[in-house]
């Protein structure tokens, strides 16, 4: 996919704003709302009965930051332990990860912590990790305190937000926060390169997405 990196010039010779492409992976216990977060972010929709993800799903979405367009290649993984053995295939070479838990279920938070540990050990060293406490709309059934999760995030250098795919609270924000934190250097790297996004330019596959954002 390195072929998507092309020269930074249009036919008329003018240079365009940067387009960076990042691989992002969602991890977390089953039924915490990984697919719902992605669906909300990518399509602005919410399904009460989102089908369970078998294996993994792949989607893309673009966000704009000043003069930079950030295109996320999102890998949404299956949560069941059985599918854990496939997960490294998705987080290998990822520049960002969102580890999701359900604020109404303490176990999912414990699981999130082990995912963070695994990422820190196995994924790219510069990976940007965000922790998302999802189902904030069910805060009356809360089992994981905001402060507890925040403290864990601070200790481990993670971005942290409580989100709700249902009400859309903080969903775009968490992706934006990640986009801001990702290094958008001039150099380009191939797929799987750690730390840096691949820079793209309008005129190839990034163009369509770039047109859609900044609305």
């Amino acid at each position: 996919m390195a072929n998507r990196t092309s020269a930074a010039q249009r036919p008329n010779g003018s240079t365009q704003g940067k387009i960076c492409q990042f691989k992002l992976v969602l991890l977390g216990e089953s039924a915490v709302g990984k697919s719902s977060l992605v669906l909300r972010f990518v399509k602005g929709q919410f399904h009460e009965y989102q089908e369970s993800t078998i294996g993994a799903a792949f989607l893309t979405q673009t966000v704009c930051l000043d003069d930079t367009t950030v295109k996320f290649e999102i890998w949404d993984t299956a949560g069941q332990e059985r599918y854990h053995s496939l997960a490294p295939m998705y987080y290998r070479g990822a520049q960002a990860a969102i580890v999701v838990y359900d604020i109404t279920n303490q176990d999912t938070f414990a699981r999130a912590k082990t995912w963070v540990k695994e990422l820190q050990r196995q994924a790219s060293p510069n990976i940007v990790i965000a922790l998302a406490g999802n189902k904030q709309d069910l805060a009356n059934k809360r089992m994981v305190e905001y402060e507890e999760a925040q403290a864990h995030a601070e200790e481990n250098g993670l971005l942290f937000m409580e989100t709700s795919a249902k009400t859309a609270m903080n969903v775009n924000d968490i992706f934006l926060a990640i986009a801001k934190k990702l290094p958008k250097n001039e150099q380009t790297t191939g797929p799987g390169g750690s730390g840096q996004g691949r820079r793209l330019v309008e005129g190839d596959s990034g163009a369509k997405a770039a047109g859609n954002c900044c609305k």
């Binding site: 009460e48 089908e51 369970s52 989607l59 053995s85 496939l86």
Partner: protein, 604 residues
């Protein structure tokens, strides 16, 4: 919390979940408002029970009415056949009728017969009840199954109500089966399997049907769901081999966009196309799957790509390809069910002829090794639902296999780009070891093929498609030229690359000849409606002392005059046995079949 507390808490949780299902919707049921959808039953429920967002049309589609009439007629024959199932039903008749589709009203009986449930049930009396009892006491999968039951087929009327009767059944079957086959336990995907079965049978039958699908020789889904998914990796590899052999361009298209088959095909293999093709078609595939077993899945996977190759090659990023295959085809397959099934049947034959219809017997670790129905003491981690710190050996293997698959595809692509740069130079004078005239996407006839076999799509689309294809072709060529510094002749090298990268699969051996029907790419004409020539690819083994002269030849147009003489005893046999792709002819706006009369032509 210490270990004892954790275990106690898990057992309380299990207790709570089981109680909810036992109580069902009776008074006192705890159901969150979001768990129960509001719905409109009478106008929007289709004949299979699925509820749609929109009201269904009040008018009866005349085609559907006709189909229903035919189905009603068939019911009589089927009833007769069911009566004398064991004695007089011939294999051929059963095959023919099942490929035409089992009448929906008789699926319950016929599916039970195909799976031979009566026998297994009579041999295992009381087992199901015992397993539900054990699950109640020891299940470690209650939480996962509960969360999946809550989202499986919720748009179907029988699963609509939280803790409704069929939700209870689904929960019971899955928890019981996880006890019975403890090696598999519960794996996501199984809820789809049991979910479909329960639409047509009762709880106990669905339990045994699940068991037959997992462990019956024909189906052996055990190896799919088991830790490490050993069967999945084997079947995916086989799927890739088929793609490589029959649709190398499509395979390359996938590789170019980093699209491993695991990304689009998982549900094909895991749940036999549930939620990947429209439900009516899915049932037809299930009918055939229950009759003929796992080779049907292999063939259907190939059929889907074959039918939609044109559409897929027009998509130029992973996102839209995956979306097309997984979402769009589920909403609208674009071909009517009969057409797809006919195509599937042909594909099965085609794969049989190439000995690729089946990837071979299951490996040892795909077969159940533990006795069924014996209570295994779950580990502490299983009880409290804690993840293991490390992968087991099997998981590690799977992980390595899938990672390797991706790397291999990437390597092959890189190698190919290197090779093609080399071979463009080499083969310019047609003096290279292998060459072909094949500037096409594998065979461009897939859409046309459907249209003349009676799809719903109008002829008007044909011209659009064909025109578009030319532009797609030029786009591909352009981008290749850009990326790999190839010129527009880059396709010449494709065959040599194909041969090189077909590691160990015996694909595209030297000397083999492939028929390549394609649309008017090679000889663009004034209108896209013109008949497309069949281009024949000829691979000739390189022999430095005896360089043969070969001419490319197509069905009716010769690009280049054939050589006047061949060396003594040198005979090239062109064999065209791929009559799945008759070249369509358009006359007076209608598409006519065009068949090749002589399947073998000897060039002397």
């Amino acid at each position: 919390m210490n270990e004892e507390d954790l275990i106690r808490r898990s057992s309380e949780e299990r207790e709570k979940i089981f109680r909810r299902y036992e109580r069902g919707r009776e008074e006192g049921a705890e159901i969150d408002p979001w768990e129960d959808p509001s719905f409109e039953v009478y106008h929007a429920t289709d004949r299979y029970g699925f509820i749609h967002d929109k009201r269904l049309s009040s008018k009866v589609d005349p085609q559907e009415a006709k189909r229903n009439q035919i189905e009603l007629e068939r019911v009589k024959k089927w009833l007769k056949m069911l009566k004398s199932w064991n004695s007089s039903v011939s294999k051929e008749k059963l095959h023919k009728r099942i490929y035409k589709g089992i009448p929906n009203s008789l699926r319950p009986q016929v599916w039970c017969k195909l799976l031979n449930l009566e026998k297994i049930k009579s041999e295992n009396k009381g087992t199901y009840a015992e397993m539900t009892r054990l699950a109640r006491l020891h299940s470690t999968d209650a939480r996962q199954i509960d969360s999946d039951v809550n989202r499986q087929f919720r748009e179907h009327i029988i699963y609509r109500e939280r803790y409704g009767i069929k939700q209870q059944s689904l929960y019971n079957v899955l928890t019981a089966y996880a006890m019975y086959n403890s090696e598999v336990g519960y794996c996501q995907g199984m809820s789809g399997l049991a979910g479909v079965l329960l639409m047509y049978m009762d709880e106990e039958d669905a339990f045994w049907a699940t068991h037959v699908l997992l462990t019956g020789q024909k189906y052996m889904m055990h190896g799919l769901y088991k830790e490490g998914f050993p069967k999945l990796t084997r079947f995916l590899a086989h799927h890739d081999r088929i793609l490589h052999k029959f649709m190398p361009k499509l395979k390359k298209h996938f590789d170019k966009h980093g699209l491993d088959s695991i990304l689009y095909s998982l549900k094909w293999f895991f749940v036999c196309f549930v939620e990947r093709v429209p439900f009516s078609l899915c049932l037809r595939i299930w009918d055939i799957y229950l009759l003929d077993g796992e080779r049907v899945i292999t063939a259907m996977a190939f059929t889907i790509l074959k039918l939609h190759k044109r559409n897929i090659t027009k998509l130029h990023d992973m996102d839209s390809i995956v979306h097309f295959i997984q979402v769009k085809l589920y909403k609208d397959f674009m071909y009517d069910d009969d057409t797809v099934i006919q195509s599937l049947e042909k594909t099965i034959d085609e794969l049989k002829r190439s000995k690729l219809d089946h990837p071979g017997p299951p490996l040892k670790d795909e077969i159940p090794s533990r006795p069924f129905g014996v209570l295994m003491q779950p580990s502490f981690e299983q009880i409290v639902g804690r993840r293991a710190e490390k992968f087991t050996e099997k998981e590690q293997t799977t992980n390595e296999i899938v990672t390797m698959r991706r790397e291999e595809a990437r390597d092959a692509l890189e190698k190919e780009s290197r090779e093609s740069q080399l071979s463009v130079g080499d083969s310019c004078g047609l003096a290279g070891s292998k060459f072909s005239f094949d500037p096409s996407i594998d065979d461009a006839s897939s859409l046309l093929d459907c249209q003349h076999t009676g799809s719903r799509r109008s002829l008007a689309d044909t011209s659009v498609t064909s025109t578009a294809d030319l532009s797609v072709f030029s786009t591909i060529t352009r981008s290749q030229a850009h990326e790999n510094s190839l010129d527009t002749h880059s396709n010449i090298s494709e065959s040599s690359v194909g041969a090189i990268s077909s590691v160990g699969s015996g694909i595209m051996q030297s000397g083999s000849i492939q028929k390549q029907p394609l649309s008017s790419h090679s000889t663009p004409r004034a209108t896209p409606h013109n008949p497309s020539p069949d281009v024949v690819r000829i691979y000739v083994p390189y022999s430095p002392t005896d360089t043969p002269t070969v001419s490319p030849q197509n069905g009716d147009v010769i690009h280049k005059s054939p050589p006047t003489s061949f060396p003594e005893g040198n005979k090239i046999r062109i064999r065209i046995d791929n009559d799945d792709f008759p070249t369509p002819l358009v006359e007076h706006g209608k598409i006519k079949h065009f068949r090749i009369e002589h399947h073998e032509i000897d060039l002397k």
